[in-house]
Symmetry: C2
Subunit: 341 residues, 2 copies
Amino acid sequence: MATRHGDTLLFSQPPVISAWAAVGGKKEGEGPLAPGFDELCQDNRFGQSSWEAAEKYLQLRAARLCLQKGKVAQQQIELALAGDLQAQCTASSYTMRELGVPFAGVFGACSTMAETLALGAALCSGGYARRLLAMTSSHFCAAERQFRTPLSYGAVRTPTAQWTATAAGCCLVQAEGRGPRITAAAFGRVQDYAIKDINNMGAAMAPAAAATLLRYFEDTHTDHQDYDCIYTGDLGQVGSGLLHELLAAEGLLVKNHLDCGCLLYDPARQKVKSGASGSGCCAAVLCTRILPRLARGGQERVLFVATGALMSQTTFLQKESIPAVAHLVELRGAENGEGEA
Amino acid sequence: MATRHGDTLLFSQPPVISAWAAVGGKKEGEGPLAPGFDELCQDNRFGQSSWEAAEKYLQLRAARLCLQKGKVAQQQIELALAGDLQAQCTASSYTMRELGVPFAGVFGACSTMAETLALGAALCSGGYARRLLAMTSSHFCAAERQFRTPLSYGAVRTPTAQWTATAAGCCLVQAEGRGPRITAAAFGRVQDYAIKDINNMGAAMAPAAAATLLRYFEDTHTDHQDYDCIYTGDLGQVGSGLLHELLAAEGLLVKNHLDCGCLLYDPARQKVKSGASGSGCCAAVLCTRILPRLARGGQERVLFVATGALMSQTTFLQKESIPAVAHLVELRGAENGEGEA
């Protein structure tokens, strides 16, 4: 069960993330979080015939590795919550064709990982599922084709551009068990600061992150200092700077903030301009860094705020501005041990 | 709270649909369900600059009319669950930019209405929201551009083709109150019978409807005769025939089945080939026919099984087959009066 305070759900019996897995591509394997991945592949096609099929493969691998680590059979999964960046979320739907579990598709763009965890936690805590998967993916090449220009054009990337991660992450959420706990969740409200630059997602999404965070602090009577770390994703360098400005304008000088978009790649060695992005970025950073630290006791209480830019190539060509949303889950250290992962 | 039987959630305190609204375009206004719509427009552009913006307008109107009929202020809405057929679900996201309520995006293609009701019912019955919106839309012109050929090509429609509805529907789901009740829900498993014809959605989706229905009967120890009507959507004429064949092969001769795709337009007068489709079709039939009958006592217990074809233009061009899913909610007559609509 849960109590509601404003937009926030506080779970009285917090569900746990009992296992997790992340799979990544070549660039992810060259980054600082490489040791945390469960599987990395030098071939970004993953042996598939298209980038889209490669992304499906990524997501499916993450799910299967997660089930394996959680020592849970596919048949024991009561629901999968998944979404991705491809038009009509096909990476997820085609993954589910292989997985064969009950499936509710979600769309939150790069906020998908937090959205699936928030919905999943509510469903588990309410007794609607004992065991479910929350997952997402992205693929650099599939996303570029989807949102920007074909890769073969060789378009020059602007300084504000972010690099879509080729990665997938999957969490096994359980009503009971061992592992980091999801103690609260909040669904965001859409914000639009009239940004129209498709190569500046950070600027479009920073206001959504700020709005959700500020509301959460108010709902829970906490402030940023109550958390070991506030993880956002994926604002990148540019968006993170803007988030700090927006929070400073409200009197909050946040020193304990890290952005998933700034963690996945090495800014000095890997040419990613403003950082990483894509639904798979947050998911991968969650599974390779955030959850392991919570499980090991390195951190005890963190916020995971994933942001999504909700435009499409069509709305971009129609000169619409870019709305964004940020969903939040509060994660706490494992109470009864590390979890299986 | 709920109990789970197999894939089925039975709500011990069923949430209610206390208000609903449907908005449609020109063709919908010429069909047999026209009198049930809350608003109809002769101009399919709804005064907007693009088909995509027109769909956003449709969805927003449906939401506002629903709030008005439910006598509920926007500020009282704790969550909106919405999705649509546009790439990256932009009709819903741009609607939410205007509406400003907490928003969790879903993707279920034409099954979206049932998916939002199923998730919404679980969240309301679990105490996570007292009041939320479950909604979706589709627009013929936006969908043709999205999935098939530009309208101006004037492509000839095949006999199995369905006509995407220009319509939106919105339901106000409440934990308590008056109106038809959502007594059970089941999320479907993805089915793929290797259909590759983008103009034969009925054939792609019929196996999903059959699978979800058969599993539901098993989970609940009921059979088709326990229901006043089994509504599917949107299989159209072709898909409905295939559903009957699939059920007959399991020994079920279902006489009380109606398909939303066969109800929205008049097959004799309106040239729609196999029938209607699009997320807005199910939503509109629900709000103009199914819910009013349940509220008035004309029907007491029905199943609403919405199917979605989970392909995209990209997967079609890549010669992938079309996976499909069907989500189900069981609806019962209003116990404490009609509801507000």
